[in-house]
């Protein structure tokens, strides 16, 4: 008998509960040195809570964590880093107004001079092929570059275990390929990687082992390379995964939504200017807009929805009416509904009840108010309809929006618009941070709405999603929209290149992309 163990980290019956919820129920798994281990699970399955305990942000109620055979207590993130645990967060823990160098310095526990740190950063970037300018201010960087800061920050500590929380949700296909290359190099040096994602084909491609969580419990372990995406998804949601039923359409109705040479100046220091955006969406058609975050998607959504009306009414036509100078409420009355990307605070008021949130956008179309007086009974009925139709898990229409998990709130805000039967639906990141089951339900609802003759515009960074549900798509890059591509005819590589800039330097910095445009 020897105390020697084959595992870098082992979790034994780790349990954590919050008031009313058992987030982790006797979770056990182990990771070997150099292994890339996937942690799979729906939203609310307890993945985040689990990794927060490994990283010392939270403490387990029961159970033990063993590090290289020894039972340990991870008191705080500092202690975790001392052990050799690095973490790259899904929501980056970056400081926007500071430089890359300052951000990295903040993640270091040892005192180190700026010059020495800069040398070390360049060394790490060389080894792993990561490109970054240490003196750039973070707010000027793309999301992919921001993630690189987090990765460099973690790598500088020579981690023995690197935790990646949903790392690819904001990257272009080329950036994802580059990230995987970095991770493989890292695992070859013996570093273990705990990889959290809901993108099953990525897990198949990258990971050696997978642990599947459902409702806080481990429900299965598998070798992802031996499984199909479908079989893993079914383990994850504990039932059959519904395939999206969508027929390939070649015939569409009349044009319902026409954008004609829409241009707009960028607002403030970090806003993106829109230039000469033109596209047409016909009845029954789903039009996708792909692109890496921060290339003008938010500005475009606000211009189209009416949050930032334009002076020139002609640039947007809704069923033949010029509406570009109208406000969001006026456009809503004319049949244009919108679901913005950010659920908390933009699509929904977190402290308001679900039925109050329903009143906010469905007031006119669903007749929820009468001469300025709210019809609460109708509002509650409408809210309950949305909840039951879209399978929103909540205690009722009176619960505050903020009490719902991300995926459930997303189902609610999407459902709230779709059930108003809009003529044109504008939707951004419909399944951002949403689990596979909920995503399939949202996709199906969008497809069904189109089948009933609505025109739909989907803005998303998730290329798989666009390829699955759209009929036509275009790519936005630096506020410019590419030519329209037919889904099914365009290759992922072609779209990926458009996402990285016209001349397609997949890892190109902003500057290079700008030069490409200057030609």
């Amino acid at each position: 008998m020897t105390e020697q163990t084959d595992y870098r980290i082992e979790l034994n019956a780790v349990t954590k509960s919050f008031p009313g919820v058992l987030a982790n129920d006797r979770v056990s798994f182990a990771i070997k040195p150099g292994e890339i281990h996937a942690l799979l699970g729906e939203n609310g399955a307890g993945k985040s809570t689990l990794v927060k305990m490994i990283y010392g942000i939270m403490q387990p109620d029961e159970g033990e964590i063993r590090w290289e055979g020894e039972a340990i207590k991870v008191a705080n993130p500092k202690a975790a880093r001392k052990l050799g645990v690095g973490m790259v967060f899904q929501h980056f823990s970056l400081f926007e107004a500071m430089t890359v160098l300052e951000n990295i310095a903040l993640g270091m526990d040892a005192k180190i001079s700026q010059n020495l740190l800069e040398d070390k950063i360049r060394e790490v970037m060389d080894v792993y092929g990561l490109k970054l300018d240490p003196h750039r201010i973070v707010s000027t960087l793309s999301v992919g570059e921001r993630q690189r800061i987090e990765i460099v920050r973690a790598l500088l500590l020579n981690p023995q275990l690197l935790i990646m929380d949903e790392p690819t949700s904001v990257l272009t296909p080329q950036e994802v390929a580059q990230l995987f290359e970095t991770l493989r190099k890292l695992s070859a040096t013996g570093c273990s990687i705990l990889y959290i994602s809901h993108k099953l084909h990525e897990i198949k491609e990258l990971c050696d082992q997978a642990t599947i969580l459902r409702g806080g419990k481990v429900v299965g372990e598998c070798d992802p390379k031996q499984e199909t995406s479908k079989s893993m998804a079914e383990m994850m949601i504990g039932g059959d995964l519904k395939q999206i039923e969508k027929e390939v359409k070649t015939e569409f109705g009349e044009p319902r939504f026409i954008v004609d040479n829409l241009s707009q100046d960028g607002e403030g220091d970090f806003g993106v200017a829109l230039s000469d955006i033109s596209f047409t969406v016909r009845a029954g058609e789903i039009f996708g807009i792909a692109g890496v975050a921060g290339n003008g998607q938010n500005e475009l959504l606000m211009a189209l929805s009416g949050e930032t009306p334009s002076l020139n009414a002609e640039t947007i036509k809704l069923d033949g009416k010029s509406v570009a100078d109208q406000t969001i409420l006026q456009r809503r009355k004319h049949g244009l509904c919108a679901v913005p990307e950010e659920r908390n605070g933009h699509a929904a008021v977190v402290d308001f009840s679900l039925s109050d949130n329903a009143i906010l956008t469905a007031r006119d179309r669903m007749n929820l108010s009468n001469n300025g007086m709210i019809k609460h009974a109708q509002a509650r009925k409408y809210t309950k309809d949305v909840i039951s139709t879209f399978g929103v898990k909540t205690t009722g229409d009176a619960s505050p929006a903020g009490s719902l998990s991300g995926g459930n709130l997303q189902k609610f805000v999407v459902g709230r618009e779709i059930m108003q039967k809009p003529d044109v639906l504008l939707i951004s990141q419909p399944t951002w941070g949403v689990d596979a089951g909920a995503a399939a339900a949202i996709h199906q609802a969008i497809v069904d709405l189109a089948d009933n003759g609505s025109a739909i515009i989907v803005i998303s960074q998730d290329l798989d999603e666009l390829l699955a549900i759209c009929d036509e798509m275009a790519v936005i890059n630096e506020g410019r929209l590419s030519k329209t591509l037919k889904v099914g005819e365009a290759s992922v590589d072609e779209i990926g290149l458009l996402m990285g800039g016209i001349h397609g330097e997949p890892s190109a910095s902003q500057d290079q992309a700008e030069n490409a445009h200057a030609h």
């Binding site: 993130p77 823990s93 310095a105 903040l106 403030g268």
Partner: protein
Amino acid sequence: MSDTIIISIIMTVIGASTPILLAALGELVVEKSGVLNLGIEGMMLIGAVVGFAVTLTTGFHLLGIVIAMFASTLSAMLFAYLTLTLTANQVATGLALTIFGIGISSLMGEPYVGKTIEIFSSWFPASLAEHPQLRVIFGYSPLVYVSLALTFGVSYFLKKTRAGLILRAVGESDISAHSIGYSVIGVRYAAVAFGGAMAGLAGCYFSLVLTPLWSEELTAGRGWIALALVVFAAWKPSRLLLGAYLFGAIMTLELHAKAAGFSFIAPELLAAMPYLATIVVLALISLRKSSGLAAPACLAKPFKPST
């Protein structure tokens, strides 16, 4: 105009500016950590009355100053406990702290009204401190030199030191700082304590140097000006120095104009200063995104760590 008049004007301006500079430096550090403490005026008054009382009783200026700073820091800790630990609203709590400071300082100062002490004056030998020309350099209270040193000190701390970087990080994104593993609440407690000590020092300057006596509401709204100054200086210590001296110059000019029989700042306007300053500061802070002001992103946002 002779040299002596110019020199005396410069000295008056610097004298009038110093307490504003001291209090504003403290508030700048507090705000950089993401906390908005509107209680400067109250903390200054507590510092002023304690400093005066201790100095009058013991005869030692330095002892008065140290105990005054301790007292104002104690009141700042009350604010910190309410806003950081109990996550009370910072604006409301800060206003309450000012009202509390005005009240308790009047109460404590009652027995000392009308008494005077020796001015806490220059430590340089009289040959320098009272020299007709050189006194423009050597003729100030030690607190003036301290305020200048602290300006550079705070600037260096924020820009060059690791602790300063962490403090800015906490004010910039509390959630990020927490997830990296810094104690957001701990850093903010320390910053609020520093702000309290500086406000106490500023208060002492009134009761030990400028007047030197105690009367109710001795600081006459200077705390509010310090608060506004931090915003106008865009959270930069060097601009704070400039702004404080500019404001001191205006006040001095007003004083001289009044003596000459006309006034360009209505006393009602001065009386309205607390309210105006609060409104202006809050408005500017909420405008920060569009105006490109470098306000700390988490200013006045309560932070509740998830456990």
